[in-house]
């Protein structure tokens, strides 16, 4: 794992757009992209009354827990998790090795639909993340001076 990660403005835009496209296609409400440590890379859709940062951290925690569970039963990893509520549901899926996607959706769409497009979006996100993660450890845009 590289010690630092740099996300360019262009990559951020691509990530944001992919999540927005996912929301449009799947009819879901909110989509988040985070790394497995809970660091939030993008949040799109409805965020009113939501605290995306906390959702990200807890989702990463939940995913990490299931990964340990998986190991205990001899599985490498569970790649998809689904929490069903009365009205709102959460779909969590692994994006490559180090990222997660959280999709919040109401009962106006289906888990099947969300999963379908989550898979598609996940693949596209993964190729962007691979570029980010393989980036050499140097700032792509000049130095970052420390403030006194």
């Amino acid at each position: 794992m590289p010690r630092h990660r740099f996300i360019t403005a262009e990559e951020q835009k691509q990530i944001d757009n992919l999540l927005r496209e996912l929301l449009k296609n799947s009819d879901a409400k909110t989509a988040l992209l985070l790394d497995q440590g809970g660091f939030l890379m993008s949040v799109q859709g409805f965020t009113e009354h939501l605290d995306p940062q906390t959702i990200a951290v807890l989702a990463a925690g939940a995913f990490a827990t299931t990964r340990e569970l998986a190991k205990l039963i001899g599985e490498e990893e569970f790649t998809v998790m689904f929490h069903q509520g009365r009205r709102d549901n959460i779909h969590l899926s692994a994006v490559g090795k180090d990222a997660l996607m959280v999709i919040i959706f109401e009962n106006t769409t289906t888990i099947g639909m969300v999963r379908l497009f989550a898979r598609e979006t996940g693949k596209k996100l993964q190729s962007i993340l691979t570029v980010i993660n393989q980036r050499k450890e140097e700032a792509p845009m000049g130095n970052i001076p420390m403030q006194e």
């Binding site: 630092h4 440590g37 906390t54 925690g61 140097e138 130095n143 001076p145 403030q147």
Partner: protein, 203 residues
């Protein structure tokens, strides 16, 4: 792993409070949370059991302006101290940028302090890291205890790596030493980040 986002101009770093059970890691975060101006903080997330013990982790995001032109975000985590939660502890360490090791000053906790420190090194090793890779500071907490161990003793016990690190005496419940500790580790994390960035540029 720190993240530098050039779209939102944000730098995010992860600082983990490590140490044996009941040494005051969550107390540190609670005090910081209380003192941070409301506009700079979000809610603190605490996954605790009934008995006030951290079950999974505590999480507190902070926003500063330590780096010119960038919003600097520190994400503070604690680990559960109890020995049997090692799997969780290891998970929380993933991608860590800086560590505060919170030790309990009570004489009868010296063994626990030492064990936890060793455990931290082992868990870091699992991510291919050593204490030379990750900036860290020591905090000797609960200095108000009557049966406290002398600072020299604790220093000898815990600050014995090749590179000596800053150590702070604290009474976290009253806030004494809490910010000194945080400021020190966050500065170390940023200095390291910036050094690494400019070193790579020069070469």
């Amino acid at each position: 792993m720190s993240t530098v986002n050039f779209a939102s101009r944000e730098i995010t770093c992860k600082i983990v409070y490590y140490g044996p059970g009941l040494s005051g890691k969550t107390t540190n975060l609670l005090f910081i949370h209380k003192k941070i101006p409301a506009k700079h903080r979000s809610d603190m997330v605490s996954l605790a059991t009934d008995g006030d013990r951290t079950l999974f982790f505590d999480f507190l995001p902070l926003v500063t302006r330590a780096v010119k032109g960038f919003t600097t975000k520190f994400q503070l985590y604690t680990v559960p101290g109890q020995v049997f939660y090692n799997a969780t502890r290891k998970l929380v360490l993933q991608g860590v940028d800086g560590i505060v090791f919170v030790a309990d000053s009570a004489w009868n906790r010296m063994n626990d302090n030492h064990e936890s420190f060793i455990n931290m090194k082992e868990n870091l090793a699992d991510y291919g890291l050593t204490l030379e890779d990750v900036p860290y500071v020591l905090q000797f907490n609960k200095r108000d205890l009557p049966n406290k161990a002398p600072v020299e003793y604790m220093s000898n016990l815990l600050n014995r790596e090749k590179q000596k690190v800053p150590q702070f005496e604290s009474i976290a419940i009253k806030g004494t030493g809490v910010f000194e500790t945080l400021n020190s580790v966050s500065r170390m994390v940023l200095v390291k980040l910036i050094n690494e960035l400019s070193a790579k540029k020069g070469s």
